[in-house]
């Protein structure tokens, strides 16, 4: 296709706004994974290392002016058009975007995604949909997973979502029909800190954890370890307490914070050292979590 067209938001769930694809990933679930990154997130975490996946393009057109190669145009008010052939990936459009969106992405029909997954299926254990926050595009997500589940050649692929846990109960009820599990970020334990680190309340996340554990679909809980924020003992003990009350045996993964790619708000933090991770792991294990990686 020579010209990519940005569709207005699709209501039937036939279109996914995809920020990126990793046809092979070793870090998004067990085994080799095909990973789809969906655009848009309702959390606003300063520590996000991929902030250009947070916003969704509203067609404001600010990016048009900075694109020296005219790879972006605005033929109709409110619709940015991307011409991939002209783009040299300089990234200027991403830097000026007031909504942290990515004007170069193109909405993809679910069928096209399924075809690409089919090419890579022999090489992977499963498909992980990440983001952004994938459950914001719930209809498309469910449609995608349903297609995978119902295709005899693809049904064996494990279907996971990588989520911030903000989806409500009704949403989960629909999604749980078609997924094998969810990997959930629990970014802090104290409500104030959670709000500061994500811009959102912690309660819906804890409710999601409980529901997923109840249904045996909680694949992993992750903690982003930020020195001076989520690495002190009180915070870690509280975090362990929440997770233990959900399921003490759930796999827990500690992720070291990295400054690279984050926005200025996160620059006050340092890269988390391996020693801090080791210490945090020891605290969580001592607090009764049985499966900390």
């Amino acid at each position: 296709m020579s010209l990519a067209v940005r569709h207005p938001l699709d209501r039937d769930g036939e279109i996914l706004e995809v920020a990126g694809v990793a046809p092979s990933s070793f870090v998004d679930g067990p085994g080799n994974r095909y990973v789809l990154f969906l655009q848009g997130c309702n959390f606003d975490c300063p520590a996000c290392h991929n902030p250009t996946t947070i916003g969704r393009c509203d067609g404001c057109g600010v990016c048009i002016d900075v694109c020296a190669l005219e790879a972006l145009t605005l033929p109709v008010t409110g619709t940015v058009l991307f011409h991939p052939g002209r783009c040299d990936s300089c990234g200027d459009c991403l830097r000026v975007c007031p909504t942290d969106a990515d004007p170069t992405i193109r909405p993809l029909p679910v069928d096209e995604v399924v075809s690409d997954i089919a090419v890579h299926a022999p090489f992977v254990s499963g498909v992980t949909v990440s983001g952004g926050e994938p459950t914001l595009q719930l209809d498309g997500l469910i449609r995608l997973f349903t297609r995978l589940r119902d295709d005899p050649g693809l049904a064996h692929l494990e279907r996971l979502v990588d989520t911030n846990g903000s989806l409500d109960r009704d949403g989960w009820e629909r999604l749980l029909e078609v997924i094998d599990g969810a990997m959930v970020d629990l970014k802090a334990a104290s409500p104030q800190r959670h709000r500061r680190l994500t811009g959102h309340d912690i309660e819906p996340v804890i409710e999601s954890l409980r529901l997923l554990a109840e249904r045996n679909k909680l694949t992993e809980v992750r903690l982003l370890v930020i020195e001076g924020e989520t690495d002190d003992e009180t915070e870690l003990l509280a975090w362990a307490g929440i997770v233990r009350s959900v399921d003490p045996a759930v796999p827990v993964r500690l992720m070291p914070f990295r400054r690279q790619g984050t926005r200025p708000l996160a620059r006050r933090w340092h890269d988390t050292t391996p020693e801090t991770i080791t210490r945090a792991r020891a605290v969580l294990v001592a607090a009764g979590l049985r499966n900390v990686r």
């Binding site: 990793a22 080799n32 994974r33 996946t53 991939p84 993809l108 090489f123 254990s125």
Partner: protein, 516 residues
Amino acid sequence: MPSFDDVAHAVRDIVTSPRLTYRQRLHQLALAAEDLLPYPEISADARRAIDEGVVCDLAEGHAPYRPRYVLPDYATALRQGSDHLELDPPQSLEEAVDFLKILYHHVPSITGLPVYFGDLDTILEPYLDETWTDDRLDRLFTRFWRFLDRTIPDAFAHANIGPDDTPITRSILRVDRALAQVVPNLTLKWDPVVSGDGLLREAAVAIAEVNKPHIANDPLIRRDFPEGYGVVSCYNTLPLGGGSHTLVRLNLHASLAHHTGSIERYLTRTLPDHVELTFEVMEARIRFLVEEAAFYEHSFLVDEGLIHPERFTAMFGIFGVAELVEGLLPGCTYGRHDEAADLARQVIDTIADIVQSRPVPYCRNDRALLHAQSGIADDVGVTAGARVRIGAEPELVDHILTVAPHHPRFPAGISDIFALERSVRANPQAIADVTKGAFARGMREITFNVEGSDLVRVTGYMVRLSDVEKLRREASRINSTGLGADSIENWRLLDRVPRVIGMETDPRMRSLLRSG
């Protein structure tokens, strides 16, 4: 002929070299002596092809007096004992291991040391009884592995395991991973039905740590070798109880330098001419080995039925496919553009068709076997075999899909090294997944280099980076360290782009949306 003074000078350099051990000096002296003889008789055109680097005999020497690769039938030897070595058949597992250690000492090859230690689990399995616990096996194989690494210090020496999943198979994987030695090189013959996922998973765990074993697609390769096969040296698949007289290579990059005109003309004239010159050199070398040196008439390995002259083939190696197709198609990158992949396929088919139809004297089925040559340290600026250029690798699966279609045409072996990011260490199942996918798409064999290991794969053999560093100051006890050091430097070997990078580190990776 070099002058006496030249020879004396070269000999003096060898016997005084601080970077060579005693045995390495001895081996070099033998090579220097051999090269005093005239080259086997070849035409002026063939001579020129060698001098210009179009045909490369890998400096095998002027007077072949032993086959390049020998794969003795060790199972037969263990069963019948050896008159020549005055050894009765071993009665226990420990005796069997001792028997093999003795026999290895008498197996020749181009390196002066054996390149094949046998399918160790298969040949030793009959000696296993209930007294052999895993712990006892591990201790036995730890001793055996140390013996091999210290007395046969050459990374081309290769052990095979699988496809059966036996206690010995598992013990070897455990011990090999714990010791992380250069020797032996190790190949797992894997069959999805016979071996199962558990064994592949165990191999993946070892690969994630020490970049070994190499994995062979057993059902596919077995079809080409009804007599059985072994994987030896750098990914060479050869008949069991036989081997390869010689390996002569065609440098496709150099071949292009001697071509003018269209692609069509290259495929119909230049290439077939160069293929024939390669055959001429190969044939001259084989005739010397068989008729003049008469190796097969004076070897107890033949007399005792451990090797059979009719199971020896010759290897026709090619390399520089990447540079050839990129030279013929300016602006195209092999591994990224379909036109380049299609042309590579045409080139390989042209060569493979000739190799399959041209008789070669004294060879198994009267034919040589095509091999995608993994390369030597001197191949500066030319990519090994049919590999994608270092630095031009596409995404992992695209990379596999680019090279997999070539695999059926290389019965004597074709390799590629897939560099993996170190995050795979926490998730070795990913290695098993990729291997299964690659085999399902027809790859004959696969090998990985995981970032951050001291033990790395060079062409097919292994080298420890710490040994390379040490070699700057002193002789290495391992013969192949020098080759590895030169290759790493000459090929920017450690620059192979690691896969897989997650979106976590690069949001702008390949994406459906930007394929345009």
